[in-house]
Amino acid sequence: MMSSLLRLNQVEAFIQKFHILHDISFEVPKGEVTVLLGRNGAGKTTTLRTIMGLNKVSKGSINFQGEEIGNLLTHRIANKGIGFVPEEQGIFGELTVGENMRVAMKKEDEQTTKRMEWVLDLFPDLKKFWKKPGGALSGGQKQMLAIARAYVNENELLLIDEPSKGLAPIIVDKVTESIQQMKEQTTILLVEQNFLMASKIGKKFYIIDDGRTVHSGQMDELKEDKVLMKKYLGIS
């Protein structure tokens, strides 16, 4: 049996007094890309934020590498080996590309430097704009920087929230390709609206609706299941 790196069990969460997550349960197997699907406002982003500790868990458990991480402080969760690429990318606009990377680097040893080089080979644009402020990058470049930044530390798991949002199709292909390369080395939990992209890199999927995990299966099978797609994803 495949060991799961991250396991959520009946997680509930509130934002202010609004009950957003009702029952989120899923597993992320090590070494795979797992995809969360669902309509706008279904609770996907909140799920990622809750894993990251940016949102409180009010009930249920979040288990990472056999350890309970629900309600730890965000920086502690990050230091356990989880990288986060938020929906809005979270680029530090007034810092240069290089400084953005430096903020992320926990140590500046040989191994990290090596990873950095590897990542920069993946995104040559970043090297080119090394001294440019992050805010001046294009949407696609920002997305690449956000992914590179999450990757530069040796993380066990990357949470990536809608990397294709607002990007031109050609750029989406580029981002897809880079994530495909990364998945060789890191486990990824991906939230994605672009079904084409998700089906290229994802293996297992979970559908979230109304703050609940309502369905799961293999990505290949989902493509054929028109009924399911229409019901939860609104695809006709």
């Binding site: 609004f18 699907l37 406002g41 805010g135 990058l137 294009s138 609206q193 992209m197 994803l233």
Partner: protein, 255 residues
């Protein structure tokens, strides 16, 4: 056909990022126009330019032939351009009824009256109640707006917009974030307004089926640019739209 609202080469850039790029459209009077496009295509930014929340970097906006590019939000509302917001934007610590009454009051031009009690204006109270009934919020009239559920806040937004009785209604994803059961009610409200045939409605929406049923015209925004314009049927046939936006058979509706 008369164009009530027209933009010429409308653009806005934030830093290096061009959010809306050279958009020229004519919105026909008393018709229902929908704007579609994937997340981040610049739809809401375009609305913000129309309603005056943002000032374009260049380009012009005409309302009934008059250049309104430099007018404030307030003046545009008074001219007849009302809008609802995607991010719910109400008065949190006032009651639902008061929220609507403020809009009614503005429409009735009672702006600086400071001597009479507000209850003196019975007609406002009644009109506010009617509007709340229309959007199915009458039983929440005395709750504070902050305590409403999200879907209810969206309904309140619509009631406030209707209260202004503007000639143009700009609706920014009126059903976003509502539960599936709530959506039909809102669509009914919008259809009712459309049925009266006395308003120009411009709507941003993702749900294709909703647009198909109601729109007279569809504009497709992609990357800040207007890539296509036409009837819903034409849009479905249109290849540019297909390849750039719909991206094959699946992924359009996911946004």
């Amino acid at each position: 056909m008369e164009a009530i609202l027209e933009t010429k080469d409308l653009s806005i850039a934030f830093g290096g990022h061009v959010a809306v790029n050279g958009v020229s459209v004519k919105i026909t009077e008393k018709k229902f126009t929908s704007i579609i496009g994937p997340n981040g295509a610049g739809k809401t930014t375009f609305f913000n330019l129309l309603s005056g929340q943002l000032t374009p970097t260049h380009g012009t906006i005409y309302f009934k032939g008059r250049d309104i590019t430099k007018l404030s939000t307030t003046n545009r509302t008074r001219l007849g351009i009302g809008r609802s917001f995607q991010i719910t934007n109400v008065f949190p610590n006032l009651t639902v009824h008061e929220n609507v009454r403020l809009a009614v009051q503005s429409q009735a031009n009672v702006r600086y009256q400071m001597l009479a009690h507000f209850n003196h204006y019975k007609q406002f109270k009644e009109k506010a109640n009617e509007l709340l009934e229309l959007v199915f919020l009458d039983d929440k009239a005395n709750s504070l707006a902050v305590n409403l559920a999200h879907g209810e806040k969206r309904k309140l937004e619509i009631a406030m917009l209707l209260a202004l009785e503007t000639e143009i209604l700009l609706l920014d994803e009126p059903t976003a974030g509502m539960s599936l059961e709530e959506v039909p009610a809102i669509i009914d409200v919008i259809k009712k307004i459309k049925g009266q045939e006395d308003r120009t409605i411009v709507l941003i929406e993702h749900k294709m089926d909703m647009i198909l049923g109601m729109s007279d015209e569809v504009l497709v925004l992609f990357h800040g640019e207007l890539i296509a314009q036409g009837t819903p049927e034409e849009m479905i046939e249109n290849e540019t739209v297909q390849s750039a936006y719909l991206g094959g058979q699946y992924d359009e509706q996911l946004t």
